[in-house]
């Protein structure tokens, strides 16, 4: 099972700070995950925004980055600073 984490406004949008799920067949990279999840949750493109960065196992990555059910995958909206 992959662990997904959501930060900032995405946490409110997804209704949780994290969840675990089995990645559907065909969702093998970050770009595919953005598309599938955005569609599945009816988010209207919020996860497709370029300003939303992806982190896989604590490393910021660029799309498309290979992912599997063993990964922790985070969605980061633009940081607001402290």
């Amino acid at each position: 099972m992959a662990r997904l984490r959501y930060f900032g406004r995405l946490m409110d949008l997804l209704g949780a700070s994290s969840e675990t799920l089995a990645l559907p067949a065909g969702v093998t990279d970050t770009r595919a995950l953005r598309r599938w999840l955005d569609n599945d949750r009816h988010l209207g493109g919020a996860l497709l925004e370029k300003s939303v960065r992806m982190v896989v196992n604590d490393e910021i990555v660029n799309d498309p980055w290979a992912i599997s059910d063993a990964d922790e995958i985070a969605f980061l909206p633009p940081v607001g600073g402290g």
Binding site: R5, F7, G8, R9, M11, D12, V55, D58, I60, A74, L76, P77, P78, V79, G80, G81, G82
Partner: protein, 152 residues
Amino acid sequence: MISLIDHPFDAADALRDFETRAAGAGAIASFTGLVRGTGKMGIVKTLHLQAFDPLTERGIIAAIGEAKMRWPLSDQTVIHRTGDLVPGEPIVFVATASAHRRAALEAVDYLMDYLKTEAVFWKKETTATGAHWIEPRPEDYTDRNRWSKTGE
């Protein structure tokens, strides 16, 4: 030293501790940031700060490393709150020690610009009209760009 803490801290105590630790330096500069009582959406009731470890801490460590390349610092500390805060509470404390004042002052300013724009935090302000996530202001980026080596 870096501390991300989810409970209130006393900036005066933090400065005293730093002065003890940095004894022997010719100059110590510090900055304390407080939660403002008025935000874009009106009177602020609470401010929620969310961090993402280890990314938040790693980013601050890198910014300190950059500051130490630019200025001869003998010591430095960054304390940053997470969790729920109310107006007037300290949210961030930065202190640096160096042989001379300019290095200490500029390094504090540099670290604050990093913390205000690039540090991995998300802020949610609660006002009378509800809760809103805050994104950086354009002038925060301008402040940060002052330090750009390329001038871009």
